[in-house]
């Protein structure tokens, strides 16, 4: 947390006071961010190998299927993952960067 505090137009003191005041929220959010990061990495790593369905992601990552889908949906929203072709009763998902490359090729 080495960011330039002046960017937010708050003094160091104010920020310190805010950190103290919001300690529980910050702790909760930090834990959440760590979890997000782990799940995100697991999904991204799996998709870096090849496109995958939610059950395949679940199998590779150990994430519960609803969590895997939730993370895929979130990554899709921010343009990191794209939906790929249909595979039986599921869709495959792929990394956006690789999908773009594949299209160019």
């Amino acid at each position: 947390m080495s960011q330039d505090i002046s960017a937010a137009l708050v003094s160091k003191e104010t920020l310190k006071a805010l950190r103290a005041e919001r300690r529980d929220w910050i702790a909760g959010a930090s834990a959440l961010a760590r979890e997000n990061k782990k799940a995100r990495k697991a999904v991204m790593d799996r998709l870096a190998v090849a496109s995958a369905t939610v059950p395949e992601i679940t199998e590779a990552t150990g994430l519960p299927p609803d969590t895997a889908l939730w993370m895929v949906a979130s990554l899709k929203k921010f343009g990191e993952v794209v939906e790929s072709e249909k595979d039986g009763s599921f869709y495959r998902y792929a990394l956006a960067a690789e999908a773009a490359q594949a299209q160019e090729a």
Binding site: A7, L18, L32, N36, T58, W70
Partner: protein, 442 residues
């Protein structure tokens, strides 16, 4: 956006959903200065969150966004979003609304809606704008068509890491923003406070919300919407394309023991509409609607219902007794079959509960307006002028006065604007002719 803390208007509209926007537009169109107070971070209400609307199957955005934009750009309309109304008082001089401007933690005069903060925020939390089916960041633009297109920080999920402030090109982040009291004075008010769906939690027969793949109707709207969480309809437990989808009608309506005793009025039609949309996007899926009576009463609604039947959507007259988690993510629907088979059950991949409609605003302690036994705002002239309440000069529009569909809501919003305009005219004595004596004479 008016930033002064005490502002004076001809009219104030509480609620920036489709009812409030229509009322505000109809007042502003006559030249009345009108404030719209919205509790959410964007105007648009429930309608902007819908996929398509019955019976025309227009996309909800195509109808709502122009009205939102028209209100946002109208010279006679001032929007107050992200505001909690504390008190609505009525005295001889008019209406006074006290409210708290909740902090967005963003300077909205500086924010340009570029979403850089959102992309860089490291915290993902379930996005209620998407039925919880995908994540949103702690700082974000509420949704793609939101007005205003301004970021909003959820401090309860913020780790104060400073990334958003770092990347903001206009230095708009304000971590230390505080709630600010505001006061609006007006001569008349329209209450257009809308509704909330009743919750599945506390309804053990429907699994209290613990059964996977049991969702409510607004969640299904998101699955069907163009900006939806998956971009298509998938089963939330595992992303499977559902082959069999069921609707449970009156899930919390028309039964006091289940939630509310009244009819929520528009659930039949949105279930039929969603079923039609589903049969379009999932042509192979079986769609079943468990219902007591199909109430397709509006203009072209019955024809819409008959079309749905002709498309092969199955309507089963039955009161659903309970839901249970079935095998492999399926949901078991237990019901009494009215064709003579008795108690029976069927498995579906996805079950949608048409939940009851509850008032969006509990005026107790906030506004001394009279309520009906159902908790919605009471009309004192339900036949001749349904928007008239027991508070002189305070009118009601839309679902705030009882469940109603969008068509009826928009019409009633226009009517409320008419009655408010008449009240203003009578006050100023500007227009010739009789003064407004509605509430005393009719």
């Amino acid at each position: 956006m008016d930033s002064s803390k005490n502002a004076v208007f001809d009219a104030v509209v509480i609620g920036g959903g489709i009812a409030g926007l229509q009322s505000a537009l109809d007042l502003a169109g006559q030249g009345y200065k009108t404030a719209v107070v919205e509790k959410d971070a964007s105007i648009g209400g429930k309608m902007i969150r819908l996929s398509k609307v019955f019976p025309t199957l227009d996309c909800a955005s195509c109808i709502t966004t122009p009205k939102m934009a028209a209100a946002a750009h109208h010279e006679n309309i001032t929007l107050y979003t992200w505001c909690d109304v504390q008190r609505v008082e009525k005295d001889a001089t008019g209406v006074s609304v006290s409210m708290i401007q909740r902090p967005r933690y963003v300077d909205i005069d500086k924010c340009i809606g570029c979403r850089k903060c959102e992309y860089n925020c490291p915290v993902l939390v379930p996005d209620t704008e998407q039925g919880g089916f995908s994540g949103r960041k702690a700082i974000r633009i509420p949704f793609s068509n939101a007005i205003p297109q301004k970021a909003l920080l959820d401090v309860e999920n913020c780790m104060l890491c400073g990334k958003c402030a770092d990347v903001c090109p206009t230095k708009a982040i304000r971590y230390d923003q505080k709630p600010e009291p505001r006061r609006i004075a007006a001569k008349t008010a329209i209450l257009a406070t809308g509704y909330e769906l009743s919750s599945v939690t506390g309804k053990p027969q429907y699994g209290n919300g613990d059964i996977p793949n049991v969702i409510d109707s607004l969640q299904m709207e998101r699955l069907l919407a163009p900006h939806g969480p998956y971009g298509r309809v998938l089963r939330p437990s595992d992303g499977m394309i559902p082959d069999s989808i069921a609707y449970v009608q009156c899930a919390g309506s028309r039964d006091a023991s289940m939630g509310v005793s009244y009819c929520s009025r528009f659930c039949c039609m949105y279930a039929v509409k969603q079923a039609m949309l589903l049969s379009g996007s999932l042509p192979l899926a079986d769609i079943t609607i468990y219902y007591m009576d199909i109430r397709a009463f509006g203009k072209n609604y019955e024809q819409f219902y008959q079309n749905a039947k002709a498309m092969g959507i199955e309507f089963v007259k039955a009161k659903v007794a309970s839901l249970d988690a079935g095998q492999g993510g399926a949901v078991t629907v237990r019901y009494e079959d009215q064709t003579g088979e008795g108690a029976t059950s069927r498995d579906h991949d996805l079950v949608v509960l048409s939940m009851g409609v509850l008032p969006g605003f509990a005026p107790g302690g906030v506004c001394p307006v009279g309520l009906g036994p159902d908790g919605f705002i009471q009309s004192v002239l339900p036949k001749l002028s349904p928007s008239v309440t027991d508070l002189e000069g305070v009118f009601v529009a839309g679902v705030a006065a009882g469940p109603k569909d969008i068509v009826d809501t928009i019409t009633e919003a226009g009517a409320a604007a008419m009655q408010a305009a008449k009240y203003l005219t009578a006050l100023s004595g500007k227009a010739p002719g009789a003064a407004n004596k509605e509430s005393s004479h009719e």
